[in-house]
Symmetry: C2
């Protein structure tokens, strides 16, 4: 018998504005098809760029300009008010990613709530979440003591979990963000959410 | 007064399967919005890759595998029967591109019919159109004598027209295929055709 209702694996990087856009839609989309979402924090810069040998998107001639234009168009279209621009200096995303994996291990189920708060703080409110101390301040909103969370973010276990998660994402062929896998089927890019939607509705092609 | 009903500029490379997919849909889409399509043959490998400093798509780790999977999924979904695989050796696209620009100059209006035939021969029928002689054989279907067309494909004027067209596409920020510009608004990728459709329907965001 075919296994039904596998969750949708959703891979993102806090640095990716398109990942942020997708994070705002994926839960609603999944729920419409009776699916849940398994969130995966990854690091495009640290691992994928190296693996693929590509330079950062905004430093790619022509494509960089397009991405700036396209992301601004997306925010207008969806009525988003972002204080961060895609061209603003980027944070170091590792503390936030470690916070995500500490929660997955120690407060399972809370990590996606954390991801949504961190995305919102980074992109809409333009916070800098590079420092573990800043990330730890999200803890109380999730019922996690700030100092315990800080210790977790800095822990060797969280570092290992992040390393393993990034390696696992590469092993599954994830090379960009957002990236979705459902029933073994990969979809790359926020502009493929509609295709994912149609795939789930139709049962695949 | 705003200029209405500007044509949609459609940039493609005969080598791009996604460009081929888009070529099958763009005229119908444009017609629904009372627009015409201005076709532009370009050379991703010769110019854009060099300008952007990127390696060929299929040679990019992880992404290459995704593209193979995704293009096969697209052909299933749209019921296409292609004899060429995206992994098959590529032709040299320059003769076909020169044929396109010779027609634009000498039989204006015929170049898009030529492009559709060349796309069909390359992707669906898996012809190799590297040789000017092979491309010239498309001439009679367009009412153009094969030998006159061959001379045109080999002419200095066609070479210059192609060079200028590629330079002009780069100057407009075109970095991939398919690429569309309508009313100054750029859209990249066959998965943005729906967005282009919505843009035209809504008057933009």
């Amino acid at each position: 018998m075919k296994t039904e209702r596998e969750p949708i694996d959703f891979y993102f990087d806090f640095l990716s504005m398109y990942g942020y856009f997708a994070s705002l839609r994926i839960e609603e989309l999944a729920a419409r098809h009776g699916r849940t979402v398994r969130w995966h924090s990854m690091l495009l810069g640290v691992s994928v760029m190296k693996t693929m040998g590509l330079k950062p998107l905004l430093e790619t001639p022509l494509k960089g300009d397009y991405v700036i234009h396209d992301s601004e168009r997306y925010t207008r279209r969806h009525g988003l008010q972002l204080h961060r621009k895609v061209t603003d200096p980027m944070m170091d995303p590792r503390a936030a990613a470690r916070g995500f994996y500490w929660l997955r291990r120690n407060r399972p189920g809370q990590e996606s709530s954390f991801a949504r708060i961190a995305f919102d703080q980074y992109w809409r409110q333009a916070f800098d979440l590079s420092a573990s101390q800043t990330v730890a301040q999200i803890g109380p909103a999730l019922g996690v003591d700030e100092l315990i969370f800080l210790e977790g973010i800095e822990s060797e276990t969280a570092r290992n979990d992040l390393r393993e998660a990034v390696a696992a994402s590469l092993a599954r062929g994830v090379f960009g963000a957002p990236f979705f896998i459902v029933d073994g089927e990969p979809f790359w890019g926020s502009d493929r959410l509609d295709m994912l939607d149609q795939w789930l509705a139709s049962g695949g092609w």
